[in-house]
Each structure stands twice: as C-alpha cells, then as structure tokens.
Symmetry: C2
Subunit: 444 residues, 2 copies
C-alpha cells in the first residue's frame, strides 16, 4: 500500500527563544585535551542575549535570528525539516509511522543510487560513529584483516573502532592533507588478503576528498573478495556516490551533514555481498544494539509497511529525515552535486584570493561540502572564531591532532550551499575577510 505523501512544506512558525549566541571554541577531544586549559576562558561566553545581526541570513527563514552554522555538520536546516521534528507523538508500530519509515528507507536507495534489491538500508538511533560499530561488529570477525586508508582524525577513529572488535588493522597513512594513492593501495592489497578496505570519503578533519570510482575498480580487480566500505559521514548527499555502479559494499553516514536533518540518526547502506558476509559469520555479531542481524528483519518489515520491533526508533527524527530526503529527491541528484561543487569552487577561490592555503592542497583531493583553511601566521583560531561568531557566522576549529591549532573549518552543505534565497556563503566569506583583518592579517 504505497503512499504518496507530499513532504511537509508548511512554513514553520516557530517561537523558540534565541537563548544563546554560540561561539565555538577549540574542542576538547581525547587527542587535544592536553593542549587546552582546564577551564575555558569564560570572558568569551556571551553575557547577554542579542537578536540583532547586521546581515543575518536566517532572516530568509521563519526561524528565530541566530548565528549561521557553517561547521562541517550539523548544518543549517530547512524550515520544513525542522518543523517535522515537532510532529505529534505516534506509535513506532502504528500504520502512519510505519509507512513514513518505510518510505524513508526506500528513498535512501535512491539517494545512494542503488536499485539492487539485495542492498539493505539501515536507519538507527545513534551518532554517525555508530556506523563504524555496525561495520566492525558485523562484517568483520576477530582476527580478520582490514586495510584502513588513513586520511586523518576520522580514519584513525574507524581504525580504533575496528580494533575494539578484534580486527587486525593495517593503516595505510598519507601525510596530513593528502590521501593514500592507488599504486600504494594496489601494493598493500597484493601483500595480504583483506576482508575489507575502508575509505573515509571526506575526512572531516582535513577536508580531503577520496576518489571512490577508480579505487573501487582497483579493489575489484586486485582483490575481488575484499569488501569496500565507505565512511560517507561528510559526503553522502553532497558528493556523488553511485553505490551499484561503483560496486560498493557499505556506506555509513549520519543525518546531520549534507542530508540536512538534525543529528541523532546513523544511516547506512550495505550490498547483498556485505549482507551475505553478516549471514555467513562463524561467530555471532559482536554487539547487540548494533547487530545487523537484529535489525535486518525490522528494516525489511518497515520497508514492506509491516509493523515490527527490536528497539524503539525516534519517530520525530524519522519524520525529519523523510522530509529532508523528499526535498533532496525532488530534483536530480546530479544538480545537487553540481550545486555543491559550484559553492565549493566559490569558497575555495575566495580563500585563495585572501592569500590563504587549504589543508587539502591538491584540487583533486578537495571536498565539496567543506573547506579546511590554514590560518595565516600569527592569527589564532581562538581569537578569530569568536570574532566570526559576533558577525553571525559559526565556523569550526581544527581537530586533526598534528595541526589542530593551525587551521579552521568552513562547512558549506545543504541549504546554505544550495538555496539561492540564502546569502550564507557570501556573508561568511565577507566575515572571514573582516575577521582576519581585525586579527591583524594583511594579504602579502
């Protein structure tokens, strides 16, 4: 009983209080905890609320005025998506919600460009990181070899997660700002039989883009039994991913990046071959909540519009994802990818015009949904980011342990990159130029 429900397109009429401005400080990760003081300088915290921004892009939405969030996820939301978060309470096994969840899973097949009925989408409550557990606890058995292509903080994290579940991990690490190259990957694949290879499509720590099509062709040629697993957290819905055509076996992502839905969902697609690997494990999956065996019948039932239960999903987040996917699929995906590339080109040209360098130096290795920008000599992120926040623009600090204090990150995904009614990107470029000048930077 397929349903043809239009996405919620009613204008949001929200009356949320703009509680706090939100300057961003360098984050305090396990890697960076040592370099941060015990206490944050609270003089940077906003003392009073303010609703006035000289050129706030949020005027173009019905959301209350707020600084524009241009970090590499979460991103700014479309009004209808945000409105869907306030959907009244529904049973997770009621016919209405089951239909919504089923349609959502079906739309993910379109987003990932797969028409193979053996491919299986999963949507679970969780952070994007949970996708690593899905791969590590289900596709890999203890002692099996995995080749991890090292591009930065997030490939390191994937490797850590794989080791937790007993994988024997080989990391092929590239220098900061680059990616492992095909000849060295071919060499590595020819030296050992790997159960899987993992690639971080866009490493959010560096803005390095990995190329999937030729990589996948190489793996299929040199090591045809090796599963090809993509961390697509910062790439799905802004970089092309042709799941079937490129012969991928797994793509894991999250809701809050280019898909443009609030955070809280782990989203993934696995090939029939990957599903067979789960089925044929000698040992049971090594996790319970993250067990694909527990979730597979549930996802298949939802997609067949049959009520089903393993653990309670979040109806509100699923509604928001349904709205986001409906919007994405209302236009050709090729246009969406081209739109992100055009915005990215504009940002990268502006960065170069400002005399700044990117962490990802090679144009072929630069992501299209974010840009990691080296700070000029003498300018500190801890000074610049609060200045940008005062101008209504929120960028992110560095996260790669080797260069964390030396760069900032500018996210340009979703409505901020694509909606012609929004001036987020122009405003952010102008704010960056002014902020750098206020920090004493002059282009040489």
């Amino acid at each position: 009983m397929p349903r043809q429900n239009p996405p919620d397109t009613h204008p949001a009429r929200l009356s949320l209080i703009s509680r706090h401005l939100a300057p961003v400080y360098p984050i305090n990760t396990p890697y960076t905890v040592e370099r941060l003081p015990d206490t944050i300088d609270t003089s940077l915290l906003p003392k009073t609320q303010s609703r006035s921004f000289s050129a706030s892009p949020s005027k173009m939405t019905s959301q209350p005025p707020h600084p524009t969030l241009l970090i590499p996820g979460p991103i700014e939301f479309d009004d209808a998506v945000l409105q869907s978060m306030s959907h009244y309470s529904e049973s997770h096994v009621g016919a209405g919600f089951v239909a919504t969840f089923g349609e959502t899973l079906f739309m993910l097949r379109k987003l990932f460009q797969t028409s193979d009925p053996a491919a299986q989408p999963f949507v679970l409550s969780g952070s994007g990181t949970l996708g690593w557990d899905l791969v590590a606890a289900n596709l890999i058995e203890p002692g099996e070899d995995v080749l991890v292509l090292g591009t930065g903080y997030f490939s390191d994290g994937f490797a850590d997660c794989l080791r937790v579940y007993g994988a024997n991990v080989t990391e092929l690490k590239a220098p900061v700002g680059t990616k492992p190259q095909l000849p060295e990957i071919e060499k590595a694949l020819s030296e050992k039989r790997y159960k899987a290879i993992t690639v971080t499509h866009v490493d959010t720590s560096t803005g390095v883009l990995s190329e999937l099509q030729h990589l996948s062709a190489l793996v299929h040629r040199v090591s045809p039994d090796t599963l090809i697993i993509v961390d697509g957290v910062c790439s799905v819905a802004c970089e092309e991913i042709a799941f079937d055509a490129w012969g991928l076996d797994g793509v894991v992502t999250a809701s809050q990046k280019a898909i443009g839905c609030p955070a809280g969902l782990s989203i993934s697609m696995f090939s029939g071959r990957a599903m067979e690997a789960v089925k044929n494990r000698k040992t049971p999956p090594a996790a319970y909540f993250a067990s694909m065996r527990n979730w597979t019948p549930i996802m298949q039932n939802y997609e067949a519009k049959k009520p089903s239960y393993f653990a309670t999903p979040s109806p509100q987040l699923i509604h928001a994802l349904h709205t986001a996917l409906s919007q994405i699929l209302s236009k050709p995906l090729a246009d969406r990818f081209a739109g992100h590339k055009a915005t990215s080109d504009k940002v990268k040209k502006a960065i170069a015009d400002l005399g700044l360098k990117q962490v990802a130096a090679n144009p072929d290795e630069q992501a299209h949904g974010m840009t990691a920008i080296y700070l000029p000599e003498g300018v500190k992120g801890a000074d610049l980011l609060p200045i940008l926040a005062k101008k209504g623009v929120v960028f992110a600090g560095g996260i790669h342990k080797e260069i964390a204090t030396k760069y900032i990150r500018f996210g340009h995904m979703g409505v901020s990159a694509l909606d012609p009614k929004r001036t987020d990107i122009d405003h952010a470029i102008k704010a960056l130029e002014e902020g750098l000048a206020e920090c004493g930077y002059k282009k040489e």
Copy 2:
C-alpha cells in the same frame, strides 16, 4: 558559569499535518513473526485522513488533532517539549549548547536522586536498548557471572545482550505476570559470586513492577560486591528511584517513556563503584560507540560547561530533554510519583470494574505507569485495537511471547497521567468500555 534559563514555555504554534491515523497492529518481533501473516490486513489501514475526533484530548494542546497515544512509550508530549525539538541548528561544541547539555546532565542527578559526585550520568543518541550494551560491554567482562531476574520480554532481552558480550548469564525466571521473590534471589546469590544482578524495574511486556529497596538491601547484605543494575526504561520519572539511598549501581533508561521526551536518547546513571569497575577492567570495553571510557570525559566536560567531542550528540533531542527535565523538577518528585500512582489506581479500578484481569495479578507487583490487561474470552486484540484507534485512543498489543495475543497494554505516563487539563485517561477508559462492547463483550 551556571546559567538560569527558564524552560521554553512559549505556546507551541505548530501546523503539522495530521497525516495518518495510527491504529496499532500486533507487532512483528523476532518472537512473534511466526504467528503473523506475511502481509498485514490492509483493510485496517485508514483510507482517508480525518481530523475529527468526538472527544480528542489533544484539543487541550496546541498540537494538531491526533489520536491520543497511550502505549507504554512513546507517550504524549507537552507542547513546550515538542517545540524544543524544532530548535534552530547549533554547534554541538558551541557555548550555548554545551551549557544546555551540562544543565541536562546535572538535572538527571536530581531525577535519579543522587548527590554523590562519583555517580556519572550519560546521555547518548540511541534507543533505550543501547543501555543494555552500555552495561554488558563496560561493566561485565567475558566469562563473568550475571544474575538476571526474569520478568518477561525485556529481562530476556537484557540477558541476550549480556550473552552477546560474553557474560555467563543465570536467569531466575518467574511465571508470567510475577517477579522472582527475595528468598529465591537470596538462595541464588549465595550459590555463586555474581559480578552483577539485573532487575527490570517495570517489565513493559507484562506491567510487572519489581521492588528495588528491599532487593538492593538483600544484595548488599548477601553479596556486597555484586553490582545492582536496574533497567528503568519504563520506570524512571514515574516510579521512585532513590539511587544513593538504595545503593544502586546502574540505572538505564530512555527518553520516550515517563520522562516525556521524544525517543532517540539512551539515558543512564552509574555509581562510583560501577565507574571503578569500568576503570579496572582487565580487558578494554567491548564496544566503541557504547564505550563508557570513550564517553566519560565527554560527559564530565559537558557538565563542567567545557566543549568536548567524541561523537555528535543531537542538539534538538537534548533541548527537548532539557525542557522535559526542567518541567519535572519544577515540582517535588514525590508529587510526581504520587500522581502516577493515583492515575494508575484509577485505571486499575476501572479495569476491575469492567471485569477484566491484569497480567500482573498481585497489586504489589503492578506498575504505576502502565497496565497490561488480559482480553476477555472471545475478544481479539486485532479487532479491539483498531476500534479504539477510531475512537482516538492508541493502545499497544501484547509482546510477551507466551501470551502475546491474549492481552493489550495501556500506558499512563507523563502529561496524560498528570496534567489535570487533559482528559486522556477518562476518555481511554470510556473508549475501552465501548470498544469491548462493540466486540461483543458483556461483563458477567
């Protein structure tokens, strides 16, 4: 820099479309899949949308008309909580959100009635089920013994989860509708040294309430090293839990039950003793996303209002939880528990007056946030539940594998149980009486 922010109390002005009515069908779990036909009878699915309910309780809110959700979670939401779900996008490491998350963690200490600084709250994106993984992957090492008090579907699930991570599980099972009794628990504890004992405070499959205070005293007396772990998914915020006074070591719960926040958050509290057990493991935690070692510094940083990152939380869900907890803590907790008991007494009296029996037969073992009701001879849940849905009331079907088709579940938590402006419970009781009559039932 503590903040005194009032909860969002602005009236919600939502314009969501009432897309579907939501009748509930027997759910298709791994346990019940064999007893259900391959396809659901689609004649039960609503063919047209309707916005008129003869006595819709949702008229008392600013939410669009919809059937009142009276299943044992998710529950009906307060307008301000639902409104918080549409909070504009914020950085997960921005000062505003960090303060909100920090306050949320602090409020959880109040809700669990702990003032021990060594106790540690966790809030992760995930379903309530993820709490089982937290316990199984962090507190228990492979080969260690765990005593599981068997009360139904959910204690079975906890046992399954523990086994996945290598625990040696002993299940002390009680007959359906009852709980293991103290003398047999004492006997079991004296026969083996258990690392932990788990108790499902309210087993959502049967409505059986377990008593924690005397149980905990027994464990401390007979087996003082044994960690006392409570599955509080269907009890936190409607049944009293005195974490410190009763000497509990872990309580895991979810956002969508008596706390009254939308689903999508795993919420837990662990004692200093439990945290020591995690610290002193001989083997690393057996999960990555569910690793308490990965999350502990993050939770501590958030509570100290310091930005921190391991995986991206869901700002919108955290805002909703913040609002829900602010509301709960604005009144004495004792009043909240007494209010749930009063509503429960009313429901249970009405059930008895209708000549119906509860799955939990013993009044001392009956939960106060839900009631599991045996259907009269000749009345099928598959007939009754859609009739109730047409009357604007959504109940849940059975889930305990031994009696699944023989009973239904009526949830009475949160605003439906406590808000004097709502008539949800009276309306539901009337609908049940009428629905049973329409199914041919006459009280003997």
